[in-house]
């Protein structure tokens, strides 16, 4: 049932628990093609769990996932990647003791050699890593041989994103791309996200900062206590409204423990 106009990702009634902790109660949402969707919500609302399920790292307890209109049971990270979904995690999944080039090609290494005797094609990996870093416009990096441990937070984030883009991913999941970053570096990453949108990538951006989200995203979803409680176009909402919603929920929870003050979908 793959339809040409189908959303890049659509999920229906996803649920996920970890022992006694319920991370996702009932999540239904969608990401259109070429769209940038902001996913916001408090700590523990289930944002990271949702991202991990969509990236194939964890499996939902129940619910359906549709990629480009087709129902898919995401089996593994490799499976999700084969469908063009790639994730830049909050912890970036970079290896501090490996070079930039090796990190860019982690688990997708280029090799040369004969039959079962294969060795790393390091020169080729360095060349391609350099190209894609130049393409994406990271200008502060001195060498792709540099160990990631030597890089700044913004540089690391940019390299993690460059890695996903380089791998041919069309659907990018960015988990807290602006966490713990200075204003200048944050701006660099926001520019990067705009460039990616311009080149036709679909993206889910998980973030805390409502202003940043509204700046780059087309649409915003608010996740509260494992449910989507708001789905609005960025042009139709504001940072104040989002802040009010989160604060209202906090006040309601204080009065009535476990209470869920969801301001339901506008669409």
């Amino acid at each position: 049932m793959s339809a040409p106009g189908a959303p890049a990702i659509r999920v229906e009634n996803l649920a996920k628990s970890f022992g006694a902790v319920t991370a996702l109660v009932d999540v239904s949402m969608h990401l259109d093609r070429g769209e940038c969707l902001g996913l916001i919500g408090d700590n523990g609302a289930g944002k990271s769990t949702l991202v991990k399920i969509l990236s194939g790292f964890q499996r939902p307890d129940s619910g359906q996932i549709f990629v480009n209109g087709e129902e898919i049971g995401l089996r593994s990270v490799d499976h999700a990647r084969s469908l063009g979904i790639d994730t830049v995690y909050q912890d970036l999944a970079l290896i501090p003791t490996l070079s930039v080039a090796h990190n860019m090609f982690l688990n997708r290494e280029l090799t040369g050699g004969l039959g079962p005797f294969r060795w790393l094609a390091n020169a080729e990996m360095r060349r391609r890593a350099r190209e894609s870093i130049e393409e994406i416009g990271i200008r502060t990096l001195r060498s792709v041989r540099a160990e990631v441990a030597m890089l700044s937070g913004g540089q690391r984030q940019a390299i993690a994103i460059a890695r996903s883009v380089h791998s041919g991913a069309r659907i990018l999941l960015l988990d807290e791309p602006l966490a713990a970053m200075g204003a200048k570096e944050g701006e660099m990453i926001l520019d990067l996200i705009r460039d990616l949108k311009a080149s036709g990538h679909s993206m889910i951006v998980v973030a805390h900062n409502f202003v940043h989200v509204l700046e780059v995203c087309d649409r915003v979803n608010l996740l509260q206590h494992g449910r989507i409680t708001l789905d609005a176009l960025s042009s139709e909402t504001s940072a104040e409204e989002l802040t009010d919603l989160v604060a209202a929920e906090y006040r309601a929870a204080k009065k009535k423990p476990g209470g869920d003050n969801g301001n339901d979908s506008q669409r």
């Binding site: 912890d91 290896i95 060795w119 502060t140």
Partner: protein, 346 residues
Amino acid sequence: MATAGAEVPTPERRAGFGWRVAGAFIRRREASILVVAVLLSVYFSLENEAFYSSDNAKNIAETMAPIALIAAGEVMLLICGEIDLAVGRVYALAPAIVYVVSSEEQHGYPIWVGMIAALVVSGCVGLTNGVITTFLRVPSFITTLGMLFLLNGITLHLLAGTQVFMPGGETFQKIFGSQPDAYAFFFNSTFWWALGLVLAVQFVLTWTRWGLHTIATGGNLIGAAEAGVNVRWIKIGNFILANLLAGFAGILDSTRITTIVPLQGGPDIMFLAVAGAVIGGTSLFGGSGSVIGAFIGVAVLIILRTGFSIIGVSAFTFELILGIAIIASMIVNVQVARLRNLGRLQ
């Protein structure tokens, strides 16, 4: 060095001159430890010319060879964030298996059958350690501590607690033991096996996906898993590799001395191997290391021990100095890792 888009250097990351010198020294850890090995050799040769003799070179070479083999396996394990304390017992178990399978008194199969059986058993020990550590989530320190006692019990049972002759004919002795008539460069087969395998493991570490994934697993376990690296299999595979190397080292040594001693090796040889690995620049926190560095690190330990005994320093003093050397290199090791994480060393 090639640069990518280097218009703007990052000034806040620029390390001072002292840090850069320290960084260069540490990045070339193999080279600096090699300098130490050469300086020690020169010192001992000047002190006593007996040190500078082909007999002593052979002695050092054959003492260090099995330890260097075990160290190569430990390096791979330390890099992926694990350790195996029981490899010294596998070193004793493997030749005991060869004895049970191939000796005339026991089953009398051809020697190569015994050797394959011993290596299969060694590999299975590694597999067991790896599965208990990764799937049952017992820290490898504990898993292999238990295995250390368990294997010793098995070896003692197999050999009834006594030492026996190593089976194997003249050809087997020449290939895996010593060549009394013609020492190539004064060394025996054991040394060349060790050198060859150390270079092979170093190749695997730096030039293959397996090596890269081993570094990734130890450098950032969750990150490597998120990137799709099968971190459990990487760890299990390195446990198997380390135990195969230890078993092979035991067979080499028993063949060379033509005797199997149930209590040979043990924690002693394992700790020397780990110490050599750390002296040679392998991080105790995982994520980086060098097999060749470990080879030279083990050489330094054996040069120290042999040198001290030749110039007449007592074994007590050797132990004391060895202890200081190990603690000092551990301090360097830990501090280097700390400074690296702070981005001070470039």
